[in-house]
């Protein structure tokens, strides 16, 4: 046996050397860097002339009204263009986000995908050349008139993916979103509190509810992101809008450690210390939180317009929605933006049909369908007649913020890791285990590292 030892060792060394050679041979990602999509190609808007086309669409419109509008629009599109077959693949928001990265770099990528606006998703895909800029079709279909600048900035990147909010359009959103305040009118009346119309009144109302022995605010923050909306809502009132926009778009020149941001973080800490939130916010999940609010366990609930269908279904007439009331003399400001935009992949073999599809599902007719199915259309909102009830509040709030106020981007757009960093930091803030300045330093570190690397 001893005589074979050296040979075994030599074989092992050879195998190791071979493995190392094999491993250094190909750099990960090299198979994805194909030729950029051809520029200046002729745009074809006559879809019937394209012959049989199959469009693979990945969306995340899985809930009731969302799924319904998608089914109706897909059916109508295929009826108009019988030569087009839509292969729809629908998965939840989280599932789509985790699988899209792999799918786009694969050989069999879908034609149309819903990619989240932020740098973690759309920004990364644009930088990798996985999405087609929509500029040629935007002129042909008039999308630059359809969408105002305030919406277009949410789907615009420079082609290298470095600047967010400017450059070419990479996706079209169907719905709008606004984070506001849901309240329980019956509880307010029982406690003898008027519906607040200014930020000062709102904070006074929180104190009054607490003094009346009820829970002012419901929050379920296991996931981390729900607190971003609460912090964002406070920040929108206390920090200048342009600073928030720079921070949220991950642009150079802003800072998280300003006195205004510190004041906003301090305010959230104060709310937590004063017992304005339910017990154990970090141990309750988002679904449990809105359900608790719907059972009347709190008077207010800060959350996005996407809760409206569920809350209306459980609370009926006994829930209202308003944009965050602004501090006296300031314009109404709220976090919000668009639902996930639809984009065309570079791998699509039928970009013209895909563009026609995007045009169809965001057309004025589509906005009507969205309204009928209980969704909040991103454009032409004022032209719609929403069903009576909570929808009317949501439509009015979105119009008030988008048209006459300041619609400020989601804070997790800022960097690929910001959702995680801020989610964890705000959990610490709410638990009181980190003071506001330490929390903001953590967030600033993430932002500064990205901005420096991004250039």
């Amino acid at each position: 046996m001893t005589s074979r030892r050296p040979r075994t060792r030599r074989a092992a060394v050879a195998a190791l050397a071979g493995a190392v050679a094999l491993l250094t041979a190909c750099t990960p990602g090299s198979e994805n860097t194909g030729a950029p999509p051809p520029a200046g190609r002729e745009v074809q808007t006559d879809i019937a002339a394209l012959g049989p086309v199959t469009l693979t669409v990945w969306d995340q419109e899985v809930r009731g009204g969302q799924n319904e509008q998608m089914e109706r629009l897909n059916a109508a599109f295929q009826e108009r263009y019988p030569n087009v077959t839509i292969k729809r693949d629908s998965r939840s928001f989280d599932d789509l986000a985790t699988t899209l990265r792999l799918a786009l770099s694969g050989n069999d990528a879908p034609d149309v995908v819903q990619a989240n606006n932020g740098r973690a998703d759309m920004g990364a895909f644009v930088a990798a050349g996985e999405l087609v800029p929509l500029t040629p079709w935007a002129q042909a279909y008039g999308w630059d008139q359809r969408y105002p600048d305030s919406v277009r900035q949410y789907v615009s990147y420079t082609p290298d993916g470095k600047v967010f909010g400017e450059g070419e359009i990479y996706g079209l959103p169907q719905v709008g979103e606004v984070v506001g305040i849901y309240y329980n009118p019956a509880e307010l009346q029982r406690l003898g509190i008027a519906v607040p119309t200014t930020w000062e009144e709102f904070e006074a109302a929180l104190a009054a509810v607490k003094a009346g022995g009820a829970t002012p605010l419901q929050l379920g923050n296991v996931e981390g992101w729900p607190a971003l909306h609460v912090f964002g809502t406070v920040q929108d009132q206390l920090v200048p809008a342009d600073q928030i926009t720079d921070l949220a778009f991950g642009r150079k020149g802003a800072s998280w450690t300003t006195p205004e941001n510190t004041q906003a973080a301090q305010r959230v800490t104060d709310w937590a210390a004063a017992g304005y939130f339910n017990e154990g916010v970090n141990g309750l999940d988002d679904n449990q939180a809105w359900q608790a609010f719907s059972r009347g366990e709190s008077v207010f609930f800060i959350g996005g317009s996407w809760y409206a269908p569920d809350l209306e279904a459980t609370m009926g007439q006994n829930v209202r929605f308003m944009p965050p009331p602004p501090p006296a003399g300031k314009p109404v400001s709220a976090t919000g933006g668009t639902g996930l935009p639809f984009s065309i992949t570079s791998a699509s073999d039928a970009p013209d049909a895909a563009a026609a599809y995007l045009d169809f599902i965001t057309s004025p007719d589509a906005m009507k369908v969205l309204t009928e199915t209980g969704n909040l259309p991103v454009v032409d909102t004022a032209a719609q007649t929403p069903p009576a009830g909570l929808s009317q509040d949501v439509f009015a709030a979105f119009a008030a913020v988008a048209d006459n106020g300041q619609l400020l981007p989601y804070l997790d757009y800022a960097t690929p890791t910001m959702g995680d960093t801020m989610g964890a930091a705000l959990q610490d803030l709410l638990a009181g285990s980190q003071p506001p300045d330490a929390v903001l330093s953590t967030v600033e570190a993430d932002y500064a590292a990205f901005v420096e690397k991004n250039g």
Binding site: G29, G224, P416
Partner: protein, 295 residues
């Protein structure tokens, strides 16, 4: 392979033996060795999963050591060993001795009950315990019932108690496995040994340390190996119950691998964490097996 061994007088050539091994080896290589090599490869790059990667050498491994968040994740995994491996082994030893020696009626029933958590899918376990630990869940109800209302809290959202709370779930799950393994070991111990001990005047405690414990050494090694691996590679439980929170206080290496690779787009770093975790599991288990074999 120029110097292939010539047929020796000791029997057929080693190539014959190789022919028997090749099918299994091919499967093993394709599904274990190649992915492992690929992971090691990826761990040497800074890669977002989409664009061209940059070679960073051992930079990602340096990050595992220097990044406070990642260091903490490995620390949490080590804490979980206490809850997933050591506690269940201690409880399992006592339970197994009691169940086998006490000659209970309805023994199969108790054995089934103890083993049941092992059968339930971890996702189901996680969802169930999330309800138990909720601010208005059964754990808090129970505490209030016995007059401990002051210590009630949102267990999974508490900065201090979230990790132990997740650990207790692990203890609950793993105890069944350890108990059943040890029961098999104890039932093989000849009765004469206990008889002899009793004649020499040994009590139940002495019996346990003099006979039971040394006899189940092999089973203990197996139990520890399995539970330590389970502790170090915990993912599903964390994913379901806390998502690493609050404030990263329950993040573990496996969760970081998933988070970095699929959510943050830091594939190289994820691979480095995965490779480090694999190495750690290997080393810890080598130690356990060595201790188990020592006479």
């Amino acid at each position: 392979m120029a110097d292939a061994p010539r047929t020796s007088h000791l029997g057929p050539s080693p190539w014959h033996a190789l022919a028997y091994v090749v099918p299994a080896l091919a499967v093993y290589a394709a599904f274990v060795l190649y992915p492992l090599g690929r992971a090691v490869h990826l761990s040497l790059f800074d890669w977002d999963g989409l664009t061209l990667a940059t070679f960073v050498g051992l930079g990602n491994y340096a990050e595992v050591v220097t990044d406070a968040g990642l260091r903490a994740a490995f620390g949490h995994a080590l804490v979980l060993i206490l809850f997933f491996a050591l506690l269940p082994t201690a409880i399992g030893l006592v339970l197994a001795s009691l169940l086998t020696r006490a000659r209970l009626r309805g023994l199969p029933f108790f054995r089934t009950v103890v083993f049941l958590p092992q059968v339930v899918a971890m996702v189901v376990v996680g969802v169930a315990w999330r309800q138990l630990y909720a601010p208005d869940g059964s754990v808090n109800d129970l505490l209030e019932l016995v007059g401990l209302g002051a210590v009630t809290r949102a267990w999974l959202g508490d900065p201090t108690f979230a990790l132990p709370a997740v650990g207790v779930i692990g203890t609950w799950v793993q105890t069944g496995l350890v108990t059943v393994l040890l029961m098999a070991g104890i039932s093989r111990i000849p009765d004469q040994l206990y008889e002899a001990a009793r004649l020499d005047g040994a009590g139940p405690v002495r019996e346990f340390f003099a006979i039971t414990l040394p006899s189940v050494r092999a089973e203990l090694a197996v139990a520890l190996t399995l539970t330590v691996i389970a502790a170090l590679k915990t993912f599903d439980l964390i994913y379901i119950t806390t998502g690493g929170g609050p404030g990263n206080r329950t993040s573990v290496p496996s969760y970081e691998v998933y988070n970095r690779a699929f959510r943050l787009g830091e594939v190289g770093s994820a691979a480095a964490v995965g490779v480090t975790l694999t190495a750690l599991i290997f080393v810890v288990n080598l130690a356990v097996v060595r201790i188990g074999e020592r006479r």
